[in-house]
Symmetry: C2
Amino acid sequence: MLHGHSRSDASSLLQSRGERATPARKAVLDILLGASSALSHADIDAQTRSRGQPLDRVTLYRVLDWLVSHGLAHRIAAEDRVWRYNVAHDQDHGHAHFRCSGCGQVFCLNELRPAFAVSLPEGFHFQQAELTIQGLCPTCNKP
Amino acid sequence: MLHGHSRSDASSLLQSRGERATPARKAVLDILLGASSALSHADIDAQTRSRGQPLDRVTLYRVLDWLVSHGLAHRIAAEDRVWRYNVAHDQDHGHAHFRCSGCGQVFCLNELRPAFAVSLPEGFHFQQAELTIQGLCPTCNKP
DNA sequence: CCCGGTCATGCAACAGGATTGCAAATATCG
DNA sequence: CGATATTTGCAATCCTGTTGCATGACCGGG
């Protein structure tokens, strides 16, 4: 998987916010920056492990929570009841997600900003909407 | 909570499909028919218990699975990673859900059929879309 | 430079939801 | 009625995620 990010991106991203750039945070953020789809805790754990710098399960959970609460990552709940994370893109306007019914991977569709006219039943108060599209990802779509 | 369903609705619904109308299925389906929002396993368990006909945890899971796989119920995964169920309404066109950020309850919005122009990235194959709206339910919306 | 406090990490134990295996009970069909 | 298939219940297990607590790293002030 080719991509243009390097370790330093993660560091500088953290530093530019005046936050501590600890090894765990740098590693996790770097992994997220290099991912092409949203990653689960298990995915990230596997990557830290294969990089030879395994993190404690709990530490990983806490780093992810920290990244989310500091606006650096975004957390997605999918049908399989597993949290998935990706780097937060600009605003947190309710964007759309794509879930592959073949492999279960979740992709963020940042471009897609569907307009829909919402008319809720009496008494309901609207706050935010999220669109989830299900289908086949490029890999699973191949014959 | 007033509603017009009775035990016999569940029975006849099952029988009209030529399926076994066991006590467990009748009870669960009846509960679902009388619910105003999607119910979790715990919700349904509590109701069977308060009715004096408690079901085994596992039996309840299996009855729910059975109902879903036979098109009688619909299963929803919410942010809290708890399955919720409601009676399946006609077609299974991807409909919309409302999740209350106050109490966590999930409501099915059967009427809402938002139109959105989906243009997926190259290689992705569309199957179905689902809209989740977050906000406050009538109860939590009261001052 | 060192001390004291704050923040981060790791380990262990736990929690809650859901699933699996297996045996007993129940229903269906010939 | 008896053979067969389906349902139910119980126990044990799994999987994801959390909490408590002690240790270790970092930072800022003297």
